[in-house]
């Protein structure tokens, strides 16, 4: 992909990206990420609009309601800069950038929530937790590296796509095929969690049980299966956890 044809120096583009990392610093119920968006694009607006009145107008159009996924927002931040450049050049009207944000924030939020919050985060969390018995404390750097390799690369790439493609970034994002990748990650999360539940049960039985080891391991595993069923039937997680702790406490005290 070619470098975007923007009249903005690279350091301004870098500043906008770095400021976009604070997108949710003042998340509020009315405008949601509006302050964060205005804060992010402000260095670009300062550069594009030397005229004070035009700059004020530009800032005001980004203080309206805005909410999307904080990582995928990088694409919209880049796209907003792309549109503002064209508005400053007189190539399009200001309503285009407002329409651009309004059209993209919902779909991109759904895409980001589905991929990052509901797929990548559980998958990396479950895999790293499952690695604790093998790696010990090194499972923590593994978590950070695995997650941020995807997170940071995608965030930078999406910002670049927004900057260089503007409205056409939708096709590029669609090509990334995030929903189907998300489904695979969720399967990895479930498999890792199941494996860890079994390992915890078997190792507990071996460490605590002596001749009763198979019985204790099976009991612990059964507790896991029962808790899965209970939570599926809308029993609160906390109730299930305290119930399991109570049973185990009683067993430990009396067996």
């Amino acid at each position: 992909m070619s470098a975007p044809d923007l009249p903005l120096p690279p350091w301004v583009l870098v500043r906008v990206f770095l400021r976009s990392l604070f997108l949710q610093a003042s998340w509020n119920p009315k405008g949601m990420q509006n302050l964060g968006l205005a804060y992010s694009v402000f260095p670009a607006l300062e550069h594009l609009y030397p005229d004070r009145a035009a700059r004020e107008e530009a800032v005001r159009r980004h203080l309206v309601f805005f909410n999307t996924h904080p990582y995928v927002a990088a694409a919209i931040v880049g796209g907003v800069v792309n549109h503002e450049v064209r508005i400053a050049r007189g190539e399009e009207t200001p309503d285009k950038v407002v329409a651009f944000k309004a059209a993209l924030m919902g779909p991109l939020a759904a895409l980001g929530d589905g991929f990052f919050w509901l797929s990548l985060k559980p998958a990396v969390g479950a895999v790293s937790a499952a690695m604790v018995p093998l790696l010990g404390v090194w499972a923590v750097p593994l978590f950070l590296v695995l997650y941020n390799l995807v997170h940071v690369l995608l965030r930078v790439r999406l910002y670049w796509l927004g900057l260089s493609l503007g409205d056409r970034l939708v096709e590029a994002v669609a090509r990334a095929n995030l929903p189907s990748r998300g489904a695979k990650l969720r399967a990895v999360a479930a498999t890792s969690a199941g494996g860890l539940a079994a390992w915890l049960s078997v190792s507990f039985g071996t460490n605590a049980g002596g001749v009763r080891a198979p019985l204790l391991a099976a009991g612990c595993l059964a507790l896991g299966v029962a808790s899965y069923v209970l939570v599926s039937r809308r029993v609160p997680n906390y109730v299930v956890l305290y119930l399991a702790a109570g049973l185990a406490c009683a067993a430990g005290a009396f067996l």
Partner: protein
């Protein structure tokens, strides 16, 4: 019982920093329970407690997500508060970190997730006021002040959650006499409760993975691990 104030201060500092990282800045997952609790353990000189508490809470809160305007439970506060309390409890006992300490800390402090959600809701009132100030400043032509309001939203999170985490660290020292007063069978029961809770949390994690065939995948994972461990044990016994 003597309180180690540097531990209390360090706990507050780390608790405040990850509270910011959780939503206001970056979100590189330093605030996830596994990471936040382990680093808390490292800072307070008790890595085993941090790692064990972090593992359990990572699994317990695996399915929670901040979707739209909905506020999930504050898994970060639960992790930093619980691990800080477990670490100071270990310090107070003078012996090493044990599963009974981890269980007690989890049972006493896991509810911080709900406390944190209330805190998040409370702080929304402050950020709503910042938004109004920003709009008024933009109308008055003071653009720099308008956009900088964004950064003012961070300090209450740092202060509130830093203080709460410090209080948890402090509470760890005061729980120690309670642990000492427990009869040995109950302490043994608490030690058994840790693997049971961790196993249950792993099942909850499988349920919270949002996978379409989560029970099938979880069963496959469990079966593979069980067979592998049993084969390994049989080989060792030969």
């Amino acid at each position: 019982m003597s309180v180690v104030w540097t531990q209390v201060a360090l706990a507050g500092l780390w608790g405040g920093l990850v509270a910011l990282e959780r939503k206001a800045f970056l979100q590189a997952m330093l605030s996830r329970p596994l990471v936040a609790a382990t680093i808390m353990g490292l800072l307070l000189g008790d890595v085993p407690s941090g790692l064990s508490v972090g593992l359990l809470l990572e699994l317990f809160f695996l399915g929670t997500a901040n979707l739209g305007a909905a506020l999930p439970e504050n898994d970060t506060l639960a992790a930093t508060g619980t691990s800080a309390a477990a670490a100071t409890l270990t310090t107070a006992t003078g012996a090493g970190s044990t599963p009974a300490i981890w269980s007690l800390a989890v049972l006493l402090f896991i509810g911080l997730g709900r406390v944190g959600r209330r805190g998040d809701r409370l702080l929304e009132g402050y950020t709503a006021r910042l938004a109004r100030v920003a709009l008024a400043s933009a109308e008055a032509g003071n653009l720099t002040r308008a956009v900088r309001q964004n950064l003012w939203g961070m300090w209450p999170h740092f202060v509130l959650y830093g203080c709460l985490t410090s209080l948890c660290a402090l509470a760890g020292f005061f729980v120690e006499p309670l642990l000492q007063a427990l009869p040995p069978p109950v302490v043994r029961g608490l030690a058994w409760a840790w693997p049971a809770m961790a196993s249950v949390s792993a099942s909850l994690a499988a349920q919270g993975s949002h996978a379409r065939r989560a029970p099938l995948y979880a069963a496959l994972g469990a079966a593979a691990v069980t067979v592998a461990v049993v084969l390994l044990l049989l080989q060792e016994h030969r």
